[in-house]
C-alpha cells in the first residue's frame, strides 16, 4: 500500500471488500470481548484491582508495547502491520497469563476460558489482518514479536512475585483491548476507503 497503487484510491474487489468488512466486524466484536475480559480479570484479582485510582505503572514487555500516540499519524498500511504484529504477539502473552491464573485462581475456570479464547481470537484477528495486508500487496513482519514476548513474560512470571504477575496480567489484558480497539479503528478507515 505504500506503492502508488496503494496510495491512490483502492478499488476493492468484492471478495476483498467482504474480507475487510468481515475482519472489521471481528475486530469490533473482539473489542467488546476484550472489555469483558479485562473486567473479569480485575474482578478475580481482588482489591484494589479494578478500584478507581488504582493504576500500576506499566511493566516492560519485550516485543510488545501499547499503541504509541504517533500511531495515528502512520500510513494505514504501516498501522495495520503494527496491528498484525501486536496481535501476533498477544496470544503467547495471554496464554502465559492464563497459566498463571490457573495456578492462582484454580476455581475460576471461566476466567481461564476467557483468556484462552482471547488468545485464540487475537491470533485469528492477526491472521485476518495479515490476509488483508497480503491482499493489498503489503506483507506483515512475521512472527518475531510473539517469541520475544513469550520469553519475556515467562521470565517475568517465573521470577516475579505474584503481585507483579497480577499486574502483568492486567497489562496484557489491557494491551489486548488496546490493540484490538486500534485494529478496529484502522480497519474502519479501510472499510470506509480512507487509505492514508
Amino acid at each position: 500500500m505504500e506503492d502508488p497503487q496503494a496510495d491512490s484510491s483502492i478499488s476493492f474487489l468484492p471478495h476483498l471488500e467482504a474480507k475487510i468488512r468481515q475482519t472489521h466486524n471481528l475486530a469490533r466484536l473482539l473489542t467488546k470481548y476484550a472489555e469483558q475480559l479485562l473486567e473479569e480479570y480485575v474482578q478475580q484479582q481482588g482489591d484494589p484491582f479494578g478500584m478507581p485510582g488504582f493504576s500500576p505503572p506499566r511493566l516492560s514487555l519485550a516485543g510488545l508495547s501499547g499503541p504509541s500516540p504517533s500511531h495515528a499519524g502512520l500510513p494505514l498500511s504501516e498501522r495495520l502491520r503494527l496491528d498484525a504484529a501486536a496481535l501476533g504477539a498477544l496470544p503467547a502473552l495471554l496464554d502465559a497469563v492464563r497459566r498463571h491464573q490457573a495456578e492462582l485462581n484454580p476455581r475460576s475456570p471461566r476466567l481461564q476460558r476467557s483468556l484462552e479464547e482471547a488468545a485464540r481470537q487475537a491470533r485469528a484477528l492477526g491472521a485476518a489482518v495479515e490476509t488483508v495486508l497480503a491482499a493489498l500487496g503489503s506483507a506483515a513482519r512475521g512472527p518475531g514479536p510473539e517469541h520475544s514476548a513469550t520469553t519475556a513474560l515467562s521470565t517475568a512470571n517465573s521470577a516475579a512475585s505474584i503481585f507483579s504477575a497480577k499486574v502483568l496480567g492486567l497489562q496484557v489484558c489491557g494491551l489486548y483491548g488496546e490493540w484490538v480497539n486500534r485494529t478496529e479503528g484502522d480497519l474502519s478507515q479501510l472499510v470506509h476507503g480512507g487509505v492514508a
Partner: protein, 1093 residues
C-alpha cells in the same frame, strides 16, 4: 589483722548480673559501704594498698589488681606473698598479679613494697568474679524469605572445667533506633569441648525492611566456684542488611500466614511513600528507616483464592505484594476405607474446615499404610470444595488387616487421621451387571448377573427384589459362594404364572457392611398355566321362557394364568347334552334353546396351557313364595346388603342386580359371596344416583339357587324431577278439594317420603304470590307424609277469594319442583242475602218514619219551608251567601247578582275505572226535598254476584306472561261512572276544540301538572271567566261524610249561583286502591272479614 571480707564491684559492672546475690540489696549496700570505709581508714593510717580485685576467665587463674596507696608508686612493689601456699611469694613490680586459683577459704595476701611498706589482704574465692571471655560469633546469616536470622558461635568449652552451665544472651538490634528488638537468653552446658551453637530467630518485620544487628554475651556457672558470676562483654555486632533490587520493594512477598494472626508489611523505597493499603483498606504508615515504611495488619482475615493484595503507593510508582491468609489442614473427618472388589481400597474422608488456600498452597494428602509401608498421595482436584475426597490404595495379596494414616499438609501445618480395618469386613460390592432372567416353569425363573471383583474367600449375601405390575414388592435374600470375576445364579420360585415381574439385584457380604447399588431392572413375563378355576357363571331364562341365557365373567388375571382364548359351554340333563364350543373371548354370554327342565350348565375357560375346571350351575331355581320387597339406600357408588344366615345354603350366595326400569330378563351384574357371609357391599361403576335398582339375593343349595330376598334400592336418592300433577276437584265458599296423581318411578329418583302443600291468598298477577317466601306468615303449609293419600281438602277459606295453591313431592334427596294453581272460592250466598235485605229494610223504615213525621208536622213544614208568602230573611240561601261574601274577599265574585242560570253540563270523569270483580248494582238514593241547594249525596247500593273465578296456573312465569294458561274469569261490573269513563286517548282531546259555551274555569282533579296545563289552555280561551280562586275549594269525595255536612266550609256547593258545582259529584281517583272501593261500599265486603282489604 587486716581482714577483707568484701569486694566492691567496679562501677562499669553495675549493670552486670551477680549470681550470688542472695542478700537483699539495702543490707548489701550498707555492708559494702561500711567495709569500704574501714579499709580506707587502715590504708590511710598505714599507707597500704587499696581495692584488691580478683577476677577469673576460666576459674583456673585469678587475675588480681589493686591500687597503690597514696605516696607509693606502682613500680615500688617488691613482692606479693600468699601465706599458706608453698613458694607463695611472687616478685613483681606492678599492682597486678595472676595467680593460680586458690582453694576455697580465706588466704592472707601480703604485698611488700620496696620502701618497706606492707599491705595485707584476706583473699577468698568468694571475692573472685568469674568473667568469661567475650564470645565471638562465627557467622550471622539471614533467610529473607522467611525473615529469619541464623547465628552460629563457639562456646569454647574446652577452656572451662566441665560440666559447667553457660547462660547466653543474644540481642537483636534494628535500625534506626538501635534499641534491642529482641533480647533472649538460654542455657547450655559446657562439656569440655568446643561446641558450635546455633540460634534462629524470625522477625516480625521482614528483614529487608531494615538492617539488623546481633550481639551475644554469656556467663558461666560452675558448681565448685563460689565467686561471682559476671556477664561477659557483648560481642561485636554482626550486621545483616538487604540489597534492594528494582523489582521487589514490598515485603514479605507471597507469604502464607495463619488467618487471624498479625503481620507487618514494609515497603523499601527511595521516594516518599504516600499510602499503604491491604485490599481496599488503607493503613497508617510506620516509618522505619529512610523512606522505608511499614503497615501492621492485625487479625488478618482469610484471603480470596488469588490472595490478599497489599499495595504501597509512592509518588511515582505502585508496589505491592500478595499474602495468603488461611488455616492449616483440619483433621480429616469421617475417614473410611472400604473395597468394592478386593483389588483396591477406596478411602474417603471429609477435609473438614476449609483452609482458604488453593493452588500450590492447597492441602496435599498422603495415605500411608503402616503394615505394608506403602503410601499414596492425593491428586489435587481444585473443583472439590467440601465434598468427600477419595483415594485408591492398591491391595496387596493376602493382606486383610490395614492400618491407614491420612496426613494433610499445607504451608501452615499438617493434620492426620488414622483407621485400622479388616478389609474383609469392609466390602461394598460393585453394582451387579448383566442381569438376565430365564424361565424354568410357570412359577420359577432363574436369575443371573455378573459381579466384578475377587470374592473367592467370602460369601456374598444378595437381595432379589421382585415387583409385580400391581406395584406389589417382595425382597428375597440369597447367600452365594463368592468367586472371582464370576457370574452368579439364583432360582426364584413361587411366582405367579403369566405375570409380568420386574427383577433387580444388589449384593453385600455375609459380614454385612453396606449394600451395593441396585442393578438395573429386568422385566420378565412368566409362562402360562391352566386357569385355576372356572369362570363365575349365572343364567337367566328369556322372557318367553324358551331360551336359557348363560352369563359368565372373565377370570381375573391371577386365576386365568394366561390369556383366555375361548370358552366351552355345555348344558346337560339326564336326557341330553348340548354344547357350545370355542366361544371366543371376550364374549361372555351364550344363549341356548332349552325346554324348561333341569339342566346343569358347565362353563370352561381355555388358555394356551389348557382348560380350567368346569364351573357349573343349575338351570332352574328353587321356588320361594315368601318373598318380601325391601328397600335399601347406598352411599357413593356402593350399597350395603345384609341377610340372616341360612344353614341350608351350603354353596354360596349370589346377589344379582338390574335397573328396575329395564325389561326382563334384566341382569346388570352379579357377585358371589361365600356361604358363611351375612353381608356384602355391592359396588359398581355402573351405579348412578337417582336410579332405582332391584337386587336379588339367591342362596345356593345342592339342588340349585333359591331366591331369598328382593330389594329395591338407590345408590343415592335425589329430589324428584317433576311435580305431582294435581287438580281441583271441588270448590266451595270456604274450602277447596285437591287431588293429585303419582309421580313415575323414573322421575321420582328416590323413595317418595311425602308431599308439601302450600296455599295462600293471592292472584296470578300479584307479585307476592309468584313465589312462596320462606316464613311468610300468610303461607299455610301442610306436610303430607302419608304417601298413599291422594286428595286434600283445604277448609276455613274465605269466600270469593283467590288462592294460590302449590304442591311438591319430596324424597330424602330433597324437594321436587312445585306445581301451582290459582283458585277463587265461591261467594257466600247468605251474606249476599243479608247485604240486600238490610239496606232495603232500613230504607223502608226511614221512609215510613219520615212520612209519619212529615204528615204530623205538615203544617209546620208548610209554614216553615213553603209559606204562601216567602220571607226573604228566612232564606238560608241568602244568609249563607252573605256570610260567605263577608268572610272572604276572594269570593266577592260570587255575590248575588242578577244572573242567568247556567246550563247543566255533564262532566267527563278523568278517573280510570279500576278492575272490579264484584257485580255491583248501584241505585241512587232519592233526593231529599227539604235539603235546599246542598250537594246531593250519592249512596251506592252494591249487590254483587260473582261466580267462582278459577285461575289455573302452573308455576311457569314465562308461560304466565305469554298468556298461554287457560283462564276463565267471570266478572260482572256495573259502575255509575263507567259510562262516563273515557279511554285515555280521548282524554287528550284539546278542550278548545269543543264548540259551544264552556265555563271558563276548570278544577284541578288529578295533579298539579294537569292544573298547569289546564290553566294554560284556559288562558287561551276567550270569553267570560269567573275570578274565583278555585284553589281555596276543597274537593271531597261524595262518599265522604263531610260532603253532607251543611255546616262545613264547603257550603259554596249550595250556592244557587254556582256555575260548576257539579264537579264535586265526580270523586277523585284513589290511586292506592286497585279496586273501585271509592265508588261505593259493597255489602259483601262489609259483611266479610278481609284484613287485606
Amino acid at each position: 589483722m587486716d581482714v577483707y571480707s568484701g569486694w566492691k564491684q567496679p562501677s562499669w559492672m553495675v549493670d552486670s548480673k551477680r549470681m550470688r546475690m542472695t542478700l537483699n540489696l539495702p543490707w548489701l549496700l550498707s555492708a559494702l559501704t561500711l567495709l569500704h570505709l574501714t579499709i580506707q581508714a587502715h590504708s590511710l593510717k598505714r599507707g597500704a594498698a587499696q581495692d584488691l580485685k580478683c577476677t577469673t576467665k576460666n576459674m583456673h587463674v585469678w587475675d588480681c589488681t589493686w591500687s597503690a596507696s597514696a605516696g607509693v608508686s606502682p613500680g615500688t612493689v617488691k613482692e606479693v606473698c600468699i601465706k599458706d601456699r608453698l613458694n607463695s611469694c611472687h616478685r613483681l613490680e606492678s599492682t597486678n598479679i595472676k595467680i593460680a586459683a586458690l582453694s576455697p577459704g580465706d588466704h592472707e595476701v601480703t604485698i611488700n613494697y620496696l620502701n618497706g611498706f606492707q599491705n595485707k589482704f584476706t583473699l577468698n574465692e568468694k571475692d573472685v568474679s568469674l568473667i568469661p571471655d567475650t564470645p565471638e560469633s562465627l557467622n550471622l546469616s539471614a533467610d529473607f524469605s522467611t525473615s529469619t536470622l541464623h547465628l552460629r558461635w563457639n562456646d569454647r568449652g574446652s577452656a572451662f572445667p566441665y560440666p559447667s552451665n553457660a547462660t547466653w544472651e543474644i540481642k537483636v538490634l534494628q535500625n534506626p533506633s538501635m534499641e534491642p528488638v529482641k533480647l533472649v537468653s538460654f542455657n547450655t552446658t559446657l562439656s569440655g569441648q568446643d561446641i558450635v551453637h546455633h540460634w534462629n530467630w524470625t522477625s516480625d518485620l521482614p528483614l529487608q525492611c531494615a538492617p539488623h544487628s546481633v550481639g551475644i554475651r554469656w556467663y558461666i556457672d560452675h558448681h565448685r566456684f563460689s565467686g561471682y558470676k559476671v556477664w561477659s562483654d557483648w560481642s561485636l555486632l554482626k550486621n545483616i542488611s538487604w540489597t534492594p533490587n528494582s523489582e521487589t520493594n514490598v515485603f514479605p512477598q507471597d507469604k502464607v500466614i495463619l488467618a487471624g494472626s498479625d503481620i507487618t508489611f514494609c515497603c523499601v523505597s527511595q521516594t516518599k511513600v504516600l499510602s499503604g493499603q491491604i485490599g481496599r483498606t488503607f493503613c497508617p504508615l510506620i516509618h522505619l528507616y529512610g523512606e522505608n515504611v511499614a503497615i501492621r495488619i492485625q487479625n488478618i482475615s482469610v484471603s480470596e483464592n488469588s490472595g490478599t493484595n497489599v499495595v504501597f503507593t509512592t509518588e511515582d510508582n505502585v508496589y505491592g505484594t500478595v499474602v495468603f491468609a488461611g488455616y492449616p489442614p483440619d483433621v480429616p473427618q469421617k475417614l473410611n476405607c472400604e473395597t468394592h472388589d478386593f483389588k483396591e481400597i477406596i478411602c474417603s474422608w471429609n477435609p473438614g474446615r476449609p483452609t482458604g488456600l488453593v493452588g500450590p498452597r492447597n492441602t496435599d494428602y498422603t495415605l500411608s499404610e503402616s503394615i505394608s509401608g506403602k503410601s499414596v498421595a492425593f491428586k489435587r482436584f481444585e473443583t472439590l470444595t467440601n465434598e468427600s475426597y477419595r483415594l485408591a490404595f492398591q491391595m496387596l495379596p493376602g493382606q486383610e488387616i490395614h492400618n491407614f494414616t491420612l496426613t494433610g499438609r499445607n504451608p501452615l501445618g499438617h493434620a492426620e487421621s488414622a483407621i485400622f480395618i479388616n478389609i474383609t469386613e469392609r466390602v461394598v460390592p460393585h453394582v451387579p451387571v448383566s442381569l438376565r432372567v430365564k424361565d424354568i416353569n410357570s412359577t420359577v425363573v432363574a436369575l443371573s448377573w455378573h459381579l466384578p471383583g475377587n470374592f473367592a474367600k467370602i460369601n456374598l449375601l444378595c437381595q432379589v427384589q421382585i415387583c409385580k405390575a400391581s406395584s406389589e414388592q417382595e425382597v428375597r435374600n440369597a447367600t452365594i459362594k463368592g468367586a472371582e470375576g464370576s457370574s452368579y445364579l439364583v432360582a426364584v420360585d413361587k411366582l405367579n404364572p403369566y405375570t409380568l415381574y420386574t427383577f433387580r439385584v444388589r449384593c453385600s457380604t455375609e459380614t454385612f457392611w453396606k449394600w451395593s447399588k441396585w442393578s438395573n431392572e429386568k422385566r420378565h413375563l412368566t409362562m402360562e398355566a391352566i386357569p385355576s378355576r372356572g369362570p363365575d357363571t349365572w343364567r337367566e331364562w328369556s322372557s318367553d321362557g324358551k331360551n336359557l341365557i348363560i352369563y359368565w365373567k372373565p377370570l381375573p388375571i391371577n386365576e386365568a394364568n394366561g390369556k383366555i382364548l375361548s370358552y366351552n359351554v355345555s348344558c346337560s340333563s339326564n336326557e341330553e347334552t348340548q354344547s357350545l364350543s370355542e366361544i371366543l373371548d371376550p364374549q361372555h354370554k351364550a344363549e341356548i334353546q332349552l325346554e324348561k327342565n333341569d339342566y346343569i350348565i358347565s362353563v370352561v375357560a381355555k388358555n394356551s396351557a389348557g382348560s380350567s375346571p368346569p364351573s357349573k350351575i343349575a338351570s332352574m331355581e328353587i321356588p320361594n313364595d315368601d318373598i318380601l320387597v325391601e328397600q335399601a339406600v347406598g352411599m357413593g357408588k356402593r350399597i350395603f346388603l345384609s341377610w340372616h344366615p341360612d344353614p341350608n345354603m351350603t354353596c354360596d350366595y349370589v346377589i344379582k342386580w338390574c335397573n328396575s326400569s329395564r325389561s326382563e330378563p334384566c341382569l346388570m351384574d352379579w357377585i358371589k359371596v361365600p356361604s358363611n357371609s351375612t353381608e356384602t357391599i355391592i359396588e359398581s361403576d355402573q351405579f348412578q344416583p337417582g336410579v332405582r335398582y332391584n337386587f336379588y339375593l339367591y342362596g345356593c343349595t345342592n339342588q340349585g339357587y333359591q331366591l331369598l330376598r328382593s330389594i329395591i334400592g338407590y345408590i343415592e336418592e335425589l329430589a324428584p324431577i317433576v311435580a305431582p300433577n294435581f287438580t281441583v276437584e271441588d270448590t266451595s265458599a270456604d274450602s277447596i278439594l285437591v287431588k293429585w296423581e303419582d309421580i313415575p318411578v323414573e322421575e321420582l329418583r328416590g323413595f317418595l317420603r311425602g308431599y308439601l302443600f302450600y296455599f295462600q291468598k293471592g292472584e296470578r298477577d300479584t307479585p307476592k304470590t309468584r313465589t312462596f317466601e320462606t316464613g311468610h306468615s300468610d303461607i299455610k303449609l301442610k306436610n303430607i307424609t302419608d304417601i298413599s293419600q291422594k286428595t286434600l281438602r283445604i277448609a276455613d277459606l274465605q269466600g270469593k277469594t283467590s288462592y294460590h295453591l302449590v304442591l311438591r313431592a319430596y324424597t330424602h334427596g330433597g324437594l321436587g319442583p312445585e306445581k301451582s294453581m290459582f283458585v277463587v272460592t265461591k261467594e257466600n250466598s247468605v251474606g249476599l242475602i243479608i247485604a240486600i235485605l238490610i239496606p232495603v229494610a232500613v230504607a223502608v223504615i226511614v221512609g215510613v218514619v219520615t212520612s209519619i213525621l212529615c204528615y204530623r208536622k205538615r203544617e209546620w213544614i208548610k209554614e216553615t219551608f213553603y209559606p204562601d208568602i216567602p220571607n226573604p230573611e228566612n232564606c238560608k240561601a241568602l244568609q249563607f251567601q252573605k256570610s260567605i261574601c263577608e268572610g272572604s274577599s276572594a269570593l266577592k265574585t260570587l255575590e248575588m247578582n242578577p244572573c242567568t242560570p247556567n246550563n247543566v253540563e255533564v262532566l267527563e270523569s278523568r278517573s280510570i275505572v279500576p278492575k272490579i270483580e264484584d257485580t255491583e248494582i248501584i241505585s241512587p238514593v232519592a233526593e231529599r226535598p227539604g235539603e235546599c241547594s246542598e250537594a246531593d249525596p250519592e249512596n251506592h247500593v252494591v249487590v254483587s254476584y260473582c261466580p267462582p273465578i278459577i285461575e289455573e296456573e302452573i308455576s311457569n312465569p314465562a308461560a304466565d306472561e305469554a298468556g298461554g294458561t287457560s283462564q276463565v274469569v267471570y266478572i260482572d261490573v256495573q259502575s255509575m261512572y263507567q259510562p262516563q269513563a273515557k279511554p285515555e286517548e280521548e282524554q287528550g282531546i284539546d278542550p278548545g276544540v269543543v264548540a259551544g259555551y264552556k265555563p271558563q274555569m276548570r278544577l284541578p282533579i288529578n295533579s298539579a301538572v294537569e292544573d298547569t296545563t289546564a290553566e294554560d289552555e284556559a288562558d287561551k280561551t276567550a270569553g267570560y271567566r269567573p275570578q274565583a280562586n278555585v284553589n281555596t275549594w276543597n274537593l271531597v269525595s261524595p262518599d265522604s261524610p263531610r260532603s253532607t255536612d251543611s255546616n262545613s266550609e264547603i257550603v259554596s256547593f249550595g250556592s244557587p249561583c254556582s256555575i260548576n258545582s257539579r264537579q264535586f259529584l265526580i270523586p277523585p281517583k284513589d290511586e292506592d286502591s286497585p279496586k273501585s272501593n271509592g265508588g261505593g261500599w259493597s255489602f259483601t265486603n262489609f259483611f266479610q272479614n278481609k284484613p287485606n282489604d
